[in-house]
Amino acid sequence: MKMTGAEIFLESLKKEGVKYIFGYPGGVVLGIFDLLYDNKDIQLILTRHEQGAVHAADGYARSTGKPGVALVTSGPGATNTVTGLATAYMDSIPVIVFSGQVPTALIGNDAFQEADIVGISRPCTKYNYLVKDVKELSLIIKQTFYIATSGRPGPVLVDLPKDVTVSKTEFTWPELNIRSYKPTYEGNKWMISQAAHLIAKSKKPVILAGGGVVLSGASKELKELAEYTEIPVTMTLMGLGSFPGTHSLSLGMPGMHGTYYANKAIQESDMLIGIGVRFDDRVTGKIDAFAPHAKIIHIDIDPTSIRKNVRVDIPIVGDVRRVLLVLNKILKEEVKEQWSEVRKAWLKQIDEWKRERPLTYTYSDEVIKPQFVVEKIYELTKGDAIIATEVGQNQMWTAQFYKFDKPRMWLTSGGLGTMGYGFPAAIGAQIAHPNKLVIDIAGDGSIQMNIQELATAIVHKLPVKVAILNNHYLGMVRQWQELFFNERYSYSELYSHVVPDFVKVAEAYGAVGFRAIKPSEVEPVLKEAFKIKKTVFMDFIIDWKEKVYPMVPAGAPIDQMLFEEPKEKAEKKLKAVK
């Protein structure tokens, strides 16, 4: 039987197991939307902005490991997806965007709502397609899902001209063979064995675990490696949850706002094992001074990640989980060390660093400290909630004070640093996990970047909780201005204690709004919010002077850290760094 392109599109999505599409209608995709009207298999989640749709698909993908799908119209609908695509691209998230396009005969004619989205999205997608013939459609969709989810995952965009969705052809579900795309999954056995022997020789090793561990589902294998060889683990922002944050071998996050002991351990280590990481500048600080005494083993599925930023002694290209399985086997069967003897001195040293400078803040009875809010959220959820964040101070405080024990519970825009990501991502995660507690920890700046998605949450009855750490500033900008721009707060004040009234905004959309001004109000507000099965905004008026510490100034070595301390002392240190 012949089917239209629109029918083939939905049939193919069904074959790929898609249950939800996040989207927004418009002229050239009305044919597809018409079919969705009474489609029983696929539900469309109508967001209030196309950017929200892509972030929601991203949150769905991160929290499930399955691809997240978005559908938008041509022109502005398509260009509004660019930030979402770039966000997913930087963090290797399988997001698939289908964009409508003007009819093929009009492409290039500056038609109404025409944009060259394939050209625009080329540098921020893993791959993209313009479908020129309905006969190619099912094969392209199959390739799209395969490319997005295999190898190093990433976003793929498919541009669907209107005439392609209308014309008819026989539906077939073809076999796949992309001769030019063959990801490497198995690591080189000889290299892995070299790595095992190097691990046995090292006295002061550290594991740096990143988002690749989460993507590859290798948490169990990582834990086995760390526990067996007694190597401490530090997790990058993207790697939080890949190894239990409450584990005695956990060092927390390294880098710019990392822990003192993680950065110290890296700098003093004689071996660094990077697993599913790409050595981002926020992790390494000054690259020439990064891990100066360490031999570096780097395991990653993407060969371009290796030796891009740091020198590597043993490169292993492959799927993290499969490589770790082999590595653990070799360590147990061939190397066999008395690990606890070997590690004694190193772990003692790390304990000393942990005691010397723990992650801390100064509690106050008068004014709410943001870290206190995050700690309370952790305490009340017992770590069993999906946590999204926006970008800036809210993100760093959450990364520092919420201990993630399990993967896929943490949604944050790590690479691109997209403000406005968290709330729609939380919505996407809530769609996938209707019975889980999903919380977006936001700032008053970021939440205003996609605040319209309140309507999406309300209409779909999603009990997403948003904890706004309201300091009426773009806090991280203000922090940099205070430290590096002589306290000249140029355009970073938002006056959000005056406008908008977040409680009233929430109520206007039909959500519940709470406000906490005193520290004593934090716990009751959180408890109440978590009890209600509705969308809740919590406006925590926090100490606007609070900064994220420790902090490594941009471009400094990661052991040159600033801490919360008297001003004169901090200034002296800053001068030395500058």
Partner: protein, 161 residues
């Protein structure tokens, strides 16, 4: 150091922009680029001349390999290979230089592919040094136009450095 990289790619629209976009997006340099179909019309071959230190060249070849439409990447510089480029040079010599222009064309095994009352157009094929040499010699005679194809390269059979 300068490297000549050969790429086998899918012969589809948009592939050239993926490759040039990769170079511009990551701040790599393209000195020359030539593209053409292979015997298999579904596959094109590109020859790119680029430069950079070892780390940059390693990144370039890895990044090219990572592109979905790239089938194979060969860094010719690591192999024994033959490089050729063709140029068309339109010269407008003074009357007294005309004989010299013809003589130079002959010495460099060039061919006169067009002539007019005032100009000769010479076709020259060769490696970079040969082309540079004839350009230097023809310059004083008055080069009016100059077009080059960009380099193409092929590995010598069976010989690896």
């Amino acid at each position: 150091m300068r490297h000549t990289i050969s790429l086998l790619v899918e012969n589809k629209f948009g592939v050239l922009s993926r490759i040039s976009g990769l170079f511009s997006g990551r701040g790599y340099n393209i000195e020359s680029l030539s593209v053409g179909e292979t015997i298999d019309p579904q596959i094109s071959i590109m020859t790119i001349v680029t430069s950079g230190d070892d780390q940059i060249i390693e990144q370039i070849t890895k990044q090219l390999n990572k592109l979905i439409d790239v089938i194979k990447v060969i860094d010719m510089t690591e192999l024994d290979h033959v490089e050729r480029e063709m140029v068309l040079i339109k010269v407008a010599p003074r009357h007294e230089d005309k004989a010299e222009v013809l003589r130079l064309a002959e010495i460099f095994r060039g061919r006169i592919v067009d002539s007019s009352q005032k100009t000769y157009t010479i076709e020259i094929t060769g490696d970079e040094k040969k082309i540079e040499a004839i350009v230097e010699l023809l310059k004083p005679m008055g080069i009016k136009e100059f077009v080059r194809t960009g380099k193409i390269a092929i590995a010598r059979e069976g010989v690896k450095k």
